[in-house]
Amino acid sequence: MKMQPNRPESLRSWLTSHDASRRFLWGAQAGACLGDLRHGSSLGGRRQELAGRSVLVAAHDQLAASLALIELDGVARRMVICPPDIGAGQLPSVMAKSGVDAVVTDHEFGGDLLSVSATPAITQCVDQESEHLPTEWVLLSSGTSGAPKMILHNLASLTAPIDLSKNQSTDIIWGTFYDIRRYGGMQIFLRALLGTGSMILSSAGEPVADHLVRLSRHGVTHLTGTPSHWRRALMSPQAHAIAPRYVRLSGEIPDQAILNSLQAAYPDAAIGHAFASTEAGVAFEVNDDLAGFPAEFLGVRGDVEMKIENDTLHIRSNRIAKRYLDGEHGVLADGQGFVDTGDVVELREGRYYFLGRKNGVINVGGMKVYPEEVEAVINRHPAVRMSMVRSRKNFITGALVCADVVLKEGSEAPDLNNEVLEICRQNLPPHKVPATIRCVAALEVAAAGKLVRPRA
């Protein structure tokens, strides 16, 4: 049996017990040396005031938020982690439901709660050590409508997917297109902290080209994002400024086209995709350059157990979240501890392929169509960078499938409609072939890095 290295008790204790003097977190404006946390703080020496509290981490600046998370883990009773795009209107209910009694922020917040300034810099100060608390981490996940889901994790569940015997090379520079306050970005943040390298943070609203230049300047080696993030990056001339050794996709279904495009753009990189959700955690990683996953992944593999029920992937593991903080989103896992991911899969020749989201299905005359399965076929056209399939009302069949397509930069396809239709007809049954195909300049990608899909 392989010896398991020690797991971290808290992030700060982990970092201060290792040499972090040459390790950095770089934001868009500033950077911070992780080694400075040993005798310094980004919270101006006020960390102890937050001990035992339920703290809303609401800094706009991602570096300030990152440092606050490191310092408060093991100190606060609970951290409620706001992504940068959370609506001000949603905050009061989030705070009430999570019993927030203190705020860490870098802007005027209002209200009369205890408020501590978060800064993107570590200054020398003496802060008393407090008793270790197993801090609850609350991640907010944009629900399909209305209030965000509040998903309760802890450091153990968040770091369970991380193999501490891997990625311990000091020259690793992590980067992600995600914000670290979302599960996909958080995974990379924690891999960076528990490893021995440094990390380049993203920055809300920063143009992709500027982000790529920054990644290049710091010499990114391990870079991650959703397929939409990656498609957008590959549309930038600056995509060639970076030369990552490891490219990782998660958060959306990666189709073969994007895997091939990344292989062509970064021939020296290992390319992998991970299946993860905020609720279910990381379930598996696929590293054979192919879309989908091998059927033998089902059943028990290490700490993770997967099964297919009603064509949908169900996961049980030590990485899944504890529960939803409020009852309105239902129960996170069933009686046996399985999370229904809502992702529909299909078995083809010994491999499972993701068809799409159970709740995104388009009903064409009683037959189901998952937008993602049609998009995966459309994206095979060599001139297509990305596509989005949506539902369109129809008085005969109730709905029809229509597609919006973005061309690759510099590509011309005068007969695109017919060519795409032909690929679809050859690979899909008639009800899944788009009735119309429209070329658009861009498709909207949400802050979480996923295509913005219209609600049917």
């Binding site: 005359g365 008085f395 005969i396 029809l400 008639p430 009735a435 119309t436």
Partner: protein
């Protein structure tokens, strides 16, 4: 292009993908014998909405659906008339 020729050309395009022996597109041809099944007609209506800017089937209440190609064309011609 007239409404009639637009409809005929759209049907040709949709049938083109189906590749089988197809009857001539005359006015008295029963629509469901044209080589289009109900899905094909649904696609036709959607494409005509894009090309002609008309969707007479959802925008008005047609009580007797068109059976022949001629009747189908008439529905569009009537919908295009200024009211």
């Amino acid at each position: 292009m007239s409404i009639q020729s637009t409809i005929v050309s759209q049907i040709e395009q949709i049938r083109g993908g189906a590749k089988k022996d197809l009857p001539a597109l005359t006015d008295d041809l029963v629509l469901l014998d044209s080589g289009l099944d109900s899905l094909g007609i649904a696609v036709l209506v959607t494409r005509l909405e894009d090309v002609l800017g008309l969707d007479p089937f959802t925008e008005s209440d047609i009580t007797t659906p068109p059976v022949t190609l001629g009747e189908f064309i008439r529905v569009y011609e009537n919908a295009a008339k200024p009211s």
